[in-house]
């Protein structure tokens, strides 16, 4: 294992220390681990908190700042954070306007955030959870834990963070988050595996001419393995899975603040259709350089155009990664006027910055 690390046990702590040194505009707690904006809580503004396993940087810590997240909770590498992290982060940044938890749909993340929501609620803080489940590589939700939360998370955090900055209340933020999730679909592939520092060896192995299609973001096995094909062919496979995905129906569990209980909500994501505008994210899994992402973007733009889908905004780079894995993912989020307005709003975080 060749990595820029010292002792394996300290990887996460030392990376957070480096982040703290580089970003005085962030407060970083090491025990429990959470990252907050200096100056929080902000009176009257909903605090947006996200979190998940580490190894996906810049997600989520790199998105803490003006116009995006108020706090992030990093778990161990590829392991969901624990409820005390969300609980302490929420206590540190919650205003009267309450706290929105953005949760990627993995059993571990979902359950730990649910536990945290109960704890935060019992402190008298208004709290709401929303789930991101956008990975079309997972086909059904009847026989699985449901679609994983991947690239749409980045776009959701930007859009909802801007809405909170502008003064949207907790319910409005949650509704907007639900909409962005419902409008978003993603799919990813790997050219190489990655090495979790604590494991010290690659999570899986691919032959020199093999790729893995339909991966998540934890080096977990994908849908299938195949021979390396030209970039255009791979992009077409992923993009068409997204563009042609039918209506996706499942039940999500959300916190009912009134009754302090969990309720189930049936949710249907409608397919993309001609005439839609989208925000596109062409994302590196960590080890793929931006030059190759542009080759991906080229084909994606062509495919969208052929279906009369307009890419209104785009982001090309490493935003939700799997350590040093080579590969990419595509995310498309249907964008209406409200979403575009908040996408364009100023943001100032370590990984995303414009307008300020």
């Amino acid at each position: 294992m060749k990595k820029l690390i010292n002792a394996v046990e300290n990887v996460l702590t030392e990376q957070l220390q480096g982040m703290a040194a580089a970003h005085p505009e962030l407060n970083i707690s090491l025990d429990p681990k959470y990252i907050t904006r200096v100056g929080a809580p902000f009176a009257g503004k909903v605090a947006i908190i996200s979190g998940g396993g580490s190894g996906h940087e810049p997600l989520h810590g790199g998105f803490v700042g003006h116009g995006m997240l108020t706090a992030a909770c990093p778990g161990e590498v590829f392991t969901s954070p624990t409820p005390d992290q969300m609980y302490e982060a929420a206590k540190a940044v919650a205003s009267d306007a309450g706290v929105l938890f953005i949760v990627k749909n993995y059993t571990g993340d979902v359950l730990n955030f649910e536990t945290a929501a109960e704890m935060v609620h019992s402190e008298g803080i208004k709290v709401q959870n929303v789930i991101v489940d956008d990975d079309v590589a997972v086909k059904d939700s009847l026989y699985t834990a449901g679609r994983r939360g991947v690239g749409t998370t980045v776009i959701l955090e930007k859009v909802v963070g801007a809405a909170a900055e502008e003064g949207y209340g907790l319910d409005a933020c949650a509704d907007l988050a639900r909409k962005v999730n419902s409008y978003g679909r993603s799919m990813g592939m790997a050219l190489t595996s990655c090495i979790v520092p604590a494991a010290g060896k690659p999570t899986f192995t691919l032959a020199e001419d093999e790729v893995e299609i339909g991966i998540g973001i934890h080096g977990e096995p994908g849908q299938y393995r195949e021979k390396l094909r030209p970039a255009d062919a791979i992009v077409e496979t992923l993009a068409l899975e997204i563009l042609d995905d039918g209506a996706y129906k499942r039940t999500l569990r959300e916190w009912d603040r009134e009754n302090a209980t969990w309720v189930e909500r049936d949710v249907i994501d409608e397919p993309f259709k001609a005439g839609d505008s989208v925000i596109a994210l062409v994302n590196s899994m960590g080890g793929t350089p931006v030059s190759e992402l542009y080759a991906v973007y080229r084909k994606l733009a062509e495919l969208c155009e052929a279906r009369d889908i307009t890419i209104a905004r785009k982001l090309v780079g490493p935003y939700i990664t799997s350590l040093e894995m080579q590969g990419f993912s595509i995310t498309l989020v249907k964008a209406d006027a409200e979403i575009l307005k908040f996408w364009d709003a100023p943001v100032s975080t370590p990984a995303l910055r414009w307008g300020v």
Binding site: T82, T107, L111, N112, A199, R253
Partner: protein, 216 residues
Amino acid sequence: MSDVITKAQVITWLENCAALLETQKAYLTELDAAIGDGDHGLNMARGFGKVKEKLPSMADASIGSILNTSGMALISSVGGASGPLYGTFFMRASTAVQARQELEPMDLVKLMEQGIEGVVQRGRAEVGEKTMLDALIPALNALKSQLEAGAGLSDALDACVAAAEAGVRSTIPLVAKKGRASYLGERSVGHQDPGATSATLILGLLRDVVKGSGVS
């Protein structure tokens, strides 16, 4: 042995859990690597390590309070899917026994019932989905029906553990429908569920302590 479980036995049981999960770390992790992300052993060892750290300060506490503190320690240190599930199990179990200093056999049934109810509420899984419930629910059923049929605690616990072990084996041919393993679909068949395995190890240690064969 008498037909009650003392507070000292509960403490010994939890200490033994920490010790055994440490030695079984690699085994559980290997099971998880096959159908999950290969951390279940690490998660459980870390969690019960934290539980063990809390025990010395619990000498004067009630059994309910010990279980509650253990659950909180698990929740705040395990992470992943199993952390909130095991944590919830212990915290809910604690509400069944509250301030008690020793447990009657039927208290154990109530404790497990409430704990399992918490796991089901949190994880929304049911028997047959290849999770820890495939061990826990048959174990509870066996314990309860033996006691109701008049068996002693020791025999009932033997039946309970035997049912858990059968439950673990029953997970092998199952297709996972919950947790990370569910993404594998058919490819999860042929592998034993790690969470069901750790649950069975924990129940086995309870039986051993109650029967006096557990290390103190």
